[in-house]
């Protein structure tokens, strides 16, 4: 078997910015002294005059982006998810969200797969924070192909978009000619009848792997990729609930308020269904290798496999 290609979606972000930058000269990139980490340095190398380093001042950076967007510039604001959604939450809400300005937020280093930096930098709350902002689009791509497509879709969309990218290199599985990205449209990746695994971000490929192993145990799992948490593909979620009657959500994010929260909100009103939310369980992360952390917190394919197996059996 050929080695599966792995790319971190932060890298996809940097590469996509360069491609879009060639096409659109009103695309500017803002960073807060993290260009090497967020990978906007790839863009800076090609378009130094369109890369604006704001220094270590994320709150101001969000406001500057808001102001820039009123002059016809499309700013892609880049920093770690912790600072984009956490430190600058109120600037994003009041200076970008409330006036519905055309600002794109590229938030890298989301989730515990940040690894060694530990809990202060592992943001497991950003999806919850960002999706409560009216009019904000929230996208959590699952691999390189999807991340690049998401950046282009964000540019073409008129309004604020929050994009979540990871530090860890993850398998590329969407790189096929039929792949199409549409904001707000979930993708059924695998058909099944016993349970629907609704996953997002780097948990999608792990869920596909888990589904393979579940099949060995006679459990037929459907796998759905929800790359857009907001607006949520509610029709597809309800369809899944009606089809398998068992819903599992999987995300590298708190089980509170993220994909699991969003799906539970939808189903409790539109099609009450037995659910399991796999994610970070209302606690902080810690230092360690990304893969070891994903394993410890039950987000590798084996962890997902055993949680789903137990859930289906009960």
């Amino acid at each position: 078997m050929a080695e599966i290609k792995k790319i971190a979606t932060r890298e996809s972000y940097g590469n996509a910015l360069v491609e879009l930058g060639k096409k659109y000269d009103n695309l500017y990139v803002l960073d807060a002294d993290l260009a090497a980490a967020t990978k906007t340095n790839i863009f800076r190398k090609v378009f130094p005059e369109r890369h604006i380093d704001c220094g270590i001042a994320e709150s101001n950076m969000m406001g500057v982006a808001a102001g820039l967007s009123t002059t016809g510039i499309v700013p892609f604001v880049s920093t770690f998810a912790m600072f984009a959604s956490g430190r600058a939450y109120e600037q994003v809400r009041n200076s970008i969200g409330y006036p519905h300005l055309n600002v794109k937020i590229g938030a890298t280093h989301a989730g515990i797969s940040v690894g060694e930096d530990g809990a202060t930098h592992q943001c497991n709350e950003d999806i919850a924070l960002m999706r409560t902002i009216p009019g904000m689009v929230v996208i959590n791509p699952s691999d390189d192909a999807e991340a690049r497509a998401a950046v282009e879709a964000a540019y073409k969309y008129d309004g604020p978009v929050y994009m979540r990218f990871g530090r860890l290199a993850v398998p590329v599985f969407n790189d096929n000619p039929d792949y199409k990205f549409e904001i707000g449209k979930g993708v059924v990746l695998r058909e099944g009848k016993d349970v629907s695994i609704i996953a997002t971000g780097l948990c999608v490929s792990a869920s596909l792997e888990a589904a393979d192993k579940l099949a060995e145990f006679g459990i037929s799992a459907e796998v759905v990729n929800i790359h857009t948490i907001k607006p949520l593909d509610e029709a597809l979620i309800v369809e899944e609930a009606k089809k398998t009657r068992k819903i599992v959500t999987v995300e590298e994010h708190s089980v509170i308020g993220g994909l699991g929260g969003a799906v539970a909100e939808t189903l409790s009103e539109k099609c009450p269904t037995e659910m399991l939310r796999i994610g970070i369980k209302d606690l902080y992360g810690e230092s360690g290798k990304a893969v070891d952390l994903l394993k410890k917190y039950g987000l590798d394919f084996e962890g997902i496999f055993s949680s789903v197996k137990e859930f289906v059996k009960r």
């Binding site: 406001g63 102001g67 002059t71 510039i73």
Partner: protein, 277 residues
């Protein structure tokens, strides 16, 4: 416009503030009144704007970073012709386009939504940078409260603005000396405000009386001649100016007059109008 006519406009703005806040039974008259002369100067003298074309990409911009003094901004916009003066009475009412704090999405002439202190200046900085990047010549003005400069974001924005040499940006600080909890030097002193902006590499102009059009004119024309750095105009003003019992009073930061108080305020303003002739 000559000083006498600017004074007449400022008086109308003050009436608009009092009418709006009285009608809303809420709002911030004190800091609106201290900045009324500045609003008059900017909208009737300084800024290159056209009420018939409020989205002109080449227009000058104004960001009311101290967004709670929206009644003053609204009165200036109304008298400048952006919307009917009569609508000032809908301030803060359900369904009105005159929100408690400025909303660029629904109020003609408002260049940025603001109100959460410290944020407006960053947006103004972004606009000024946008002018430079897109090769446009417009200027950007932003008004901050003297209490507002306690917000850390103000200094993030100031650092960035001077680093980017934004000489098309004018930051104005309304130094009326009072904030909700007391005198600014008692609550958490931001003084010396001028030295702080100087340290952040701004060209700083101190205005002894920010309620005097001659002094405002001198400061703003000096600001226009500055190259390679942003300007900060720190202007001393009197909070509540124009309404006898509000002047210099901490009580009128965020409170509406009752019927009797409203009558006195209107009388004060009428007297001032009679003197102007």
């Amino acid at each position: 416009m000559d000083d006498l006519n600017l004074k007449r406009i400022a008086l109308k703005i003050r009436e608009g503030i009092i009418d709006g806040v009285y009608s809303a039974k809420a709002g911030h008259p004190g800091g609106s009144l201290s900045a009324a002369d500045l609003f008059a100067y900017l909208y009737f003298e300084e800024m290159n704007i056209d009420p018939k074309n409020p989205q002109d990409p080449d227009r000058d911009r104004f960001v009311l970073s101290k967004g709670h003094t929206a009644p003053g901004l609204y009165a200036a916009l109304a008298h400048r012709g952006y919307f009917p003066v009569d609508d000032l009475k809908t301030l803060r009412h359900l369904g009105s386009y005159l929100q408690g704090h400025p909303d660029m999405k629904c109020t003609p002439g408002v260049d940025m939504s603001s109100g959460s202190l410290g944020q407006g200046i960053s947006a103004a900085v972004g606009m000024a940078l946008g002018a430079k990047l897109t090769g446009r010549n417009f200027r950007v003005y932003t008004l901050l409260g003297d209490g507002e400069v306690q917000e850390g974001q103000v200094w993030e924005a100031a650092m960035f603005a001077s680093h980017r040499k934004l000489d098309n940006l004018v930051v104005i600080v309304d130094n009326n000396g009072l904030q909700i909890d007391g005198k600014i030097e008692d609550v958490c002193s931001p003084y010396p405000i001028d030295k702080k902006f100087e340290a952040f590499n701004f060209h700083v102009i101190n205005v002894e009386n920010g309620n005097d059009f001659g002094q405002l004119r001198k400061a703003f024309s000096e600001a226009k001649s500055v190259k390679g750095k942003p300007t900060a105009i720190v202007m001393k003003t009197l909070k509540g100016l124009g309404v006898s019992y509000m002047e210099g009073s901490i009580d009128w930061h965020g409170k509406a007059p009752n019927d009797e108080e409203y009558a006195v305020a209107k009388q004060d303003l009428k007297k001032a109008g009679d003197i102007l002739g």
